[in-house]
């Protein structure tokens, strides 16, 4: 490793702009609750997801406030589960003058790899209060079995 020259302050205006953009992005992601990999996302909006496992199934909860049931598609192909859809901006009138826009709009897509031991034909989904819940039941062999061990 060599010693690098340290430049105390950015000298080019573009650096300043870049820094400003980065700071704006940090503030935005902080207040919107965006995920850390935001810089890598290809779609403008990446909904937030929780994934849990219980005895019988895997449960995915996706925050989709303001999205209509008909605008969401859940597709299972091989071992990939994809949730995609679109949120349209609800514009009340043409006279609306926006002072602040923090909520996300547009299309979104998230894909998950499913374990092989699931019943992919028995996937169930429910949509309440802006949260989509997808339940993926486990196949019999994946369920933890209790084996009684006799102590002699």
């Amino acid at each position: 490793m060599t010693l690098m020259r340290w430049t105390p302050a950015p000298t080019l205006p573009s650096d300043v702009l870049g820094m400003q953009r980065e700071i704006n992005r940090m503030f935005d992601s902080f207040f919107r609750g965006a995920t850390e990999d935001e810089g890598l996302q290809t779609t403008p909006w990446n909904p937030v997801v929780d994934v849990a496992e219980n005895e019988h199934s895997y449960v995915l909860n996706v925050e989709l406030p303001g999205v209509s049931r008909n605008d969401v598609k859940i597709v299972v192909q091989e071992n990939q589960l994809t949730i995609r859809g679109e949120k349209k901006q609800e514009k009340e009138s043409k006279n609306a003058n926006y002072h602040r826009v923090e909520r996300s709009f547009g299309s979104f897509q998230r894909t998950f790899s499913l374990p092989t031991s699931v019943k992919s034909d028995k996937i169930d989904a429910a949509f309440t209060d802006g949260v989509l819940t997808v339940t993926v039941p486990k196949a019999e062999e994946a369920r933890a079995k209790e084996i009684e061990v006799k102590v002699k």
Binding site: V59, L60, N95, D129
Partner: protein
């Protein structure tokens, strides 16, 4: 900023729930000729768990996500932030505080704050 406007207070709020966790919901604010409209994303909240409080020119929204909506079982990964949604807005004098409409649908709270007569645009005819 003019006196009559509705503005968002700073993102942070002193309020917090028992666990000390609060989450700032994303908000849109727009203005129409007769009203200011606030829209807040409150996913996973039931209508009855939302409190809207107007106090001394400050409108405070608090909403606790329902326990049942929380993902059951052992979390494999979690991106959702825990805590009670909390956000405050400053309501100017130009708002008729007696006629505030609130509506909750698909996890989105819409609050309509009507302007009082002085704030509405008025066309003056030329004689």
């Amino acid at each position: 900023m003019t006196k009559g406007e509705v503005t968002v207070k700073t993102g942070h709020s002193a309020e917090s729930d028992v666990n000390g966790l609060c989450r700032v919901p994303a908000a849109d604010v727009y203005e129409t000729p007769d009203a200011y409209v606030l829209m807040l994303d409150l996913p996973g909240v039931e209508k009855d768990a939302i409190t809207l409080m107007l106090d001394k020119g400050e409108l405070r929204v608090q909403a606790k996500p329902s326990e049942q909506k929380q993902t059951p079982g052992r979390l494999l990964f979690s991106e959702m932030r825990p805590g009670t949604f909390t956000r405050s807005f400053t309501i100017g004098d130009g708002i008729d505080t007696n006629s505030i409409d609130a509506h909750f649908d698909k996890g989105v709270l819409t609050v309509k704050l009507y302007k009082n007569a002085q704030m509405k645009p008025r066309e003056i005819s030329i004689n």
